[in-house]
Symmetry: C2
Subunit: 209 residues, 2 copies
């Protein structure tokens, strides 16, 4: 039973939206996992401890998330929801700033700070790579909308803009350094936007006859 | 006793410049350490293996580098010499590109690729932090010279330019991703330089009366 569900046997996602007992259990377990990750990280995380803190049976967890990697992946997805949903304010500068601030906030959470140095662990890296595509595609869509509105020139590479705007924060994050302040975020976004516009002005324009 | 040296009491540095036996031993040991780092990384590195590969006694190594961290730090400094010495071509774009290409080349070496994921190890991180200042100061000096020549506007922050230009490469490096190609390096440098100029044009100019 999957999407387009029938009356009985609701999927986890439906239950989560409905807020039933199942959704409560999911929320409790993922919250407990996030807390535990913030305390001990991925490598030392024990499903037993999560079960105890969430007040559920270990088997309840294993039934839904057969491996520790599954459980942590679901937790990061849930916690990452605060970072998700590309904004659409009508201004590419505003949208990029909103996303960069979210990334900075996310990088200040205990869970992320404890887990980041564990990026070298193959399972952690696999989990992170699984989330990376979603993350990137939202940034790319924001930049692409800016191009569509004519705020950015037609030749702009959304992926390049994304990489340059996010890398300074992600580099600090991975290295466990302090997250940048608002002024830094604005400087980076403004510099990249201004640079994109200025570079395009130098290129021979394709549309001019 | 080789070129231009005094009969007795030469320092290691003098010997290194002069190319005497002491310098040869240093070179052999550091080379063997670099090779071993590229094979097994920092954590698994054993001074015994380095000694054997370099054809010297373990005590010869310990006399000069009392700890594994000392030995590896010296090796990274030596290997990093290829990345050192800020260029001064008279063009900030050329200088930045030379340094970015060096960083990319450096990031392709087996030693760096094996060690980067170990950045989370406290000793590796301490070694890297010890080298970071040198690295940053050369980038900053190149950008500052560009400002001095008027290629970049007076309000430019050399540290910000450094961070934005280097972060995309360093982020890939830390995450063990592929190093970018020449086109990517040029795009980043051009975008940051064009952005710096364009942003300054928007600021009220301090020197105008």
């Amino acid at each position: 039973m999957r999407t387009g569900e029938r009356p009985s046997g609701r999927s986890v996602a439906t239950a989560a939206r409905g807020g039933g007992r199942s959704a409560r259990v999911v929320a409790q377990v993922l919250r407990a996992t996030a807390e535990q990750l913030g305390r001990v990280g991925y490598v030392a995380l024990r499903v037993e401890d999560v079960a105890q803190n969430a007040g559920v049976n270990k088997t309840t967890i294993y039934r839904r998330w057969p491996t520790k990697a599954d459980l942590v992946s679901a937790t990061l997805r849930r916690e990452g929801e605060a970072c998700e949903g590309a904004p659409d304010t009508g201004s590419v500068r505003e949208d990029l700033l909103i996303m960069l601030r979210r990334l900075v906030d996310h990088g200040r959470s205990p869970m992320v700070r404890v887990m980041m140095p564990e990026m070298t662990h193959p399972e952690v890296r696999a989990i992170a790579n699984g989330l990376k595509h979603n993350f990137e595609s939202e940034w790319v869509s924001v930049v692409a909308r800016g191009v569509g509105r004519g705020e950015l020139p037609a030749g702009t590479s959304p992926l390049l803009v994304t990489e340059i705007v996010t890398s300074a924060v992600i580099r600090r994050l991975i290295r466990g350094e302090e997250m940048p302040d608002e002024a830094f975020c604005e400087s980076v976004v403004d510099l990249v936007l201004a640079g994109s516009v200025a570079l395009a002005a130098r290129r021979p324009r394709a549309k001019t006859g």
